[in-house]
């Protein structure tokens, strides 16, 4: 059927396989999948999301890079655009873990946070 995807559920180490497609506006999941898995696969089919973790440049500090993360998943298709945006960022100490480095990153509604402290 059109648009069917073969996906692997990653919510637990079992890694169940399923085929997922759209029919009459509903997401159909074919495979031995548990409830939690079904939720993941539905999202993965409609709009796969990934938490992005990377680093940004730190200036005027002994540290060279600050690890950052999106608070929750952002659309997978935005990942490389996100990396390009991050390459423009420069931060300076003091930075606290959890500080919002970029609010509403790429308009996704998800904040980009500092993942570590940088004191000096």
């Amino acid at each position: 059927m059109k648009g069917a995807k073969d996906l692997i559920c990653i919510t637990c180490p079992k890694g169940c396989h399923a085929r997922v497609w759209m029919e009459d506006g509903n997401v159909i999941i074919k495979g031995e999948v548990c409830k939690r898995g079904k939720e993941y696969l539905k999202q993965e089919f409609l709009e796969p999301k990934r938490i992005l973790t990377s680093t940004v440049v730190v200036e005027q500090s002994r540290s060279k890079r600050l690890p950052v993360r999106t608070r929750t998943g952002i659309p997978k298709r935005e990942i490389f655009r996100a990396m390009d945006e991050l390459s423009k960022v420069k931060v300076q100490p003091p930075i606290k873990i959890g500080d919002v480095i970029i609010p509403n990153f790429l308009g996704t509604g998800v904040d980009l946070l500092a993942s570590d402290d940088i004191r000096d």
Partner: protein, 499 residues
């Protein structure tokens, strides 16, 4: 021949003697020559002295029992242990007297031991003892029970060739020798009856006398001088290094059998590891120092036969070196002689035992130079070498305290496996070491169990910061062997060392 190299038109200088090749032999010649009045130059095509064949040296000083009676190599190896002990004092270097035992594992090999003893003594060595199984077991508790007899000598020792090559070069430079690294010779032309014009990739040197100590490339240098009949035959030898945790398995240099395919040799190293070799194959070309699975396995078998308790999982690295013999001397002997076509040029074609014979070779080369007309007047002042790289790891606790008191950076350990401190790394860089391999060979940082995976990023930064270059320009062993290719997407170094 190698692809065309770009020559530099720069004029580097004029000298009495130019030595082509800063391996252990070239460096030894340079150092001895620097005791005389005159202008001398030492040129080397690699980024660092000793980065050619000498880098893969077994680093062992032998007695001449391996050498045919009356051979040149035998003559030049006489008294090697004493020469090296003296040099160790003068250069403040490490020489470890471990002794050697040549083992016979079969009845029919016992005769070889007596022949070896005879050869050694005829070549001028003393102190040999034929020993039986009980004494062997006493000296070497882990050696195979099959060892039924041994030829034992106390004097032979081990050192670390790259360290010595650097030290000799440094001492030569200290005493006025001009050093040109990264300078590959592309042409030697007679300028007139008194001078040669030596063209290199770094520039030109005018020299009255030329010493060809170019190791693997000595045939190519010879051809430039008009001696196109000099050819080298190559063998690639694989060696394995074992972790320090098994160093108690072997106390002396142990030898077994020798053939076209191998030299059975397991020994402690100067730093407390074990080195095992040597399995020979034909290399694909002069640059082929690759190691194959088979090379490793065949080499390992050599060691296991002598020391059954040896395990492959204790190996921390393997490497190959290229050994050569020349077609001018018979029986694989050294060929050290004036050129047949070019006046005031001397060829030094010395394969194994090149390290052992190096002091003797240097003496002979100087004698030949004098015969060719070089005026030999000793300098009034010859500087002994500044203190070697003091090693924190091997210093007793009281010395460690003094080192830290003199320089707190001796308190900062950079390489955990070999306990190398920041002070040692920085000192090495300040004294001319400018590659990751150079730091590795001179300070040991990166030579231990983890082979640099922990300290690599620190050494990279120390090189970049101390030399004032971007980290992307730091190399492993010279141009083309950069460690990193750039920066993460953000680009550029933040902080010190902007590019």
């Amino acid at each position: 021949m190698a692809k065309a190299q770009s020559v530099s038109p720069a004029f580097l200088g004029e000298c009495d003697v130019v030595i082509i090749g800063a391996g252990i032999i070239g460096a030894m010649i340079a150092r001895e020559l620097s005791k005389l009045k005159g202008k001398f130059a030492l040129i080397e095509k690699e980024a660092f002295p000793g980065f050619g064949v000498s880098k893969a040296s077994l680093s062992q000083i032998h007695l001449p029992d391996f050498c045919p009676i009356g051979s040149l190599k035998g003559k030049l190896s006489a008294n090697a242990p004493q020469r090296f002990k003296k040099l160790a004092r003068e250069l403040d270097l490490h020489y470890r007297e471990v002794g050697e035992i040549w083992l016979a594992l079969k009845q029919e090999h016992i005769e070889n031991l007596w022949e070896a003893k005879k050869r050694g003594e005829s070549n001028g060595a003393r102190g040999y003892e034929i020993i039986g199984p009980e004494k062997i077991r006493q000296l070497e508790p882990y050696v195979t029970k099959k060892a039924i007899a041994g030829l034992y000598a106390k004097e032979p020792g081990v050192l670390y060739t790259p360290e010595w090559t650097f030290a000799l070069t440094e001492n030569a430079v200290q005493n006025g020798v001009s050093l040109y690294l990264g300078a590959a010779v592309t042409g030697i032309d007679k300028e007139d009856d008194h001078y040669y014009k030596v063209t290199t990739t770094r520039g030109q040197i005018r020299a009255r006398y030329v010493i060809n100590a170019a190791g693997l490339y000595s045939d190519e240098i010879a051809a430039l001088l008009g001696d196109a009949d000099i050819h080298l035959e190559l063998r690639k030898g694989t060696m394995l290094i074992f972790d320090k945790s098994v160093s108690s398995l072997v106390r002396h240099m142990l030898f077994g059998t020798f053939s076209e395919k191998h030299s059975q040799d397991i020994a402690p190293t100067a730093h407390g590891n074990l080195i095992l070799g040597v399995h020979y194959v034909k290399p694909r070309n002069k640059k082929d120092t690759s190691v194959s699975r088979e090379n490793i396995e065949e080499t390992f078998k050599l060691g296991k036969e002598l020391v059954p308790a040896l395990r492959e999982k204790d190996m921390i690295t393997s490497f190959s070196g290229i050994l050569c013999t020349n077609n001018k001397a018979s029986d694989g002997d050294f060929y050290i002689a004036p050129s047949e076509h070019a006046p005031r040029a001397i060829h030094v074609l010395a394969g194994a035992p090149g390290l052992t014979a190096a002091p003797g070779i240097a003496d002979m080369v100087i004698r030949l130079l004098v015969e060719q007309g070089l005026k030999a007047e000793e300098k009034k002042v010859f500087h002994t070498r500044k203190e070697s790289f003091p090693r924190f790891e091997s210093a007793p606790l009281s010395k460690k305290e003094k080192m830290i008191a003199s320089n707190p950076k001796y308190g900062h350990i950079v390489c955990r496996c070999e306990q190398v401190t920041e002070a040692e790394v920085i000192n090495a860089i300040k004294r001319g070491v400018d590659t990751m391999d150079g730091v590795k060979h001179l300070t040991r940082a990166g030579m231990g169990r983890c082979q640099g995976s922990f300290c690599g990023s620190s050494v990279l930064k120390y090189l970049a910061n101390t030399l004032g270059i971007p980290a992307t320009k730091v190399t492993k062993k010279g141009a083309g062997s950069h460690h990193i290719v750039g920066y993460t997407k953000q680009g550029g170094e933040s902080g010190a060392g902007e590019c």
